[in-house]
Symmetry: C2
Subunit: 257 residues, 2 copies
Amino acid sequence: MALNAENESNYQASKYRTPDGAPADIVIFTITSEGKDSTKKSLPHRELQVLLIQRKQWPFEGQWALPGGFSSENETIQESARRELTEETGVSDVHLAYFNVYSTPKRDPRGWIISHAFFALVHERFLEKRQAADDAADVRLFPVEEALAMDLAFDHEIIVRDALAQIQTKMLTTTIAKEFLSEEFTISELYQVIQTVVPTFNERNFIRKITSTQSRKGIIEEVLDHNGQGKMSNRYSQRAAQLYRFTDYVPQLSIYS
Amino acid sequence: MALNAENESNYQASKYRTPDGAPADIVIFTITSEGKDSTKKSLPHRELQVLLIQRKQWPFEGQWALPGGFSSENETIQESARRELTEETGVSDVHLAYFNVYSTPKRDPRGWIISHAFFALVHERFLEKRQAADDAADVRLFPVEEALAMDLAFDHEIIVRDALAQIQTKMLTTTIAKEFLSEEFTISELYQVIQTVVPTFNERNFIRKITSTQSRKGIIEEVLDHNGQGKMSNRYSQRAAQLYRFTDYVPQLSIYS
DNA sequence: AAAATAGTGTCTATCAGACAGTATCTG
DNA sequence: CAGATACTGTCTGATAGACACTATTTT
């Protein structure tokens, strides 16, 4: 059976051409909000933004790119992504998910470099104190649409586009909306977050469905105060709104049931 | 801005440790069916199976493993997976999807090897001639549960487990069921395929929902004969059953609507 | 007739979707 | 009281889920 057997002593990986690196690149999304009018309480304007760094060295010197870095032999690619994310945002317990690999020949002039793309969802409060790291000339948030029109380094435009499609799908099929919200939030805030990521989302009876529909009402729950009364917020409105939080329940979707 | 600039002439990738290989591994699933009784027409027994190869060389010599192989500098990893799949099954237009990367340090004794995992869904008719032609003991189908209990090479048990979770989710949320069916199929066949992949799936009114529910009825359509009459099949039953085919429509699922 | 698969009829509680109306607070 | 946000009432037709029932063909 083992006519052609090799063993450890005569195995040589180096007889083949090997990759020159396996970096992790991270598409860090956040939703910024700014009040439209200082004199009146009103819902803020929200915008989906992506964090980019300006490259300081060859290749693509001076162009904007995704943060990321080479992984090493002693860590998984997920760990290296988590490390990069912490360096870039200063926060460690943030939603991070792997979504695709990019390996088109000659995508990187430095050689055969296979890039592993992650997306992270970060609340804007975590990005306030960021600063340019060693290998970056500048770090900034850009509205996603603007970033996609910018001639990014490498194939990063495609990566951002793919990441956007991913979070749009996940926004509607999972509870990742919570990553952009505080622990407690109003229905309007949740609705706004969904609409910011998926502009086509439009549910006129949103509050009905999510609070009183049998199959969905486990997703979020009312926050109660110490007296058992509903805890309210008037952050954005004259009339106070009920606060909710996400539960651990995530409904299983199916096209057949 | 570019105080620390490098350029192409002084950039050296080789000053860092680089990976020893970036293979694609493929979890090839099929559903086998065998009639339970030769004297009577009845629905076949279906089982989800995975294709494994027995290794001939170090490392893990003699153990069963996923088919796969190293990718080269001149192709994307998807292309190399497609190439492997064609070599293994003899078919080229088969559903193939990337789902994860495996990079735990020392997962492969040959060195720093980052494996990219794909799953493929193949109709059993494509694996018949391969099985017959190459009846050597080194390529075989195993029932998934059996494969998971087998002490596979490398971290392939984890990969198979992850792949199974993936296709279970996709079976319910996309129309990949069609990859396991012929172009035309009966409702019972579709139901059986879903249940084979997701044993917990149980819908008593399945035929109602998929044929007459407004929001779902676009997924499949009746096959008509040249007279505009419904085309029937009595492959599995005494009473002939209507044949259906998938349309191009895939409903968009959402937990919020 | 029995067996096996393929459907249909019918019922009730719930839900979807639309839109008008009411509630609460601020400037 | 105008404006902004936060809900609630109410209506119609569609759907979910259960289960009994009928239909067609083979042995």
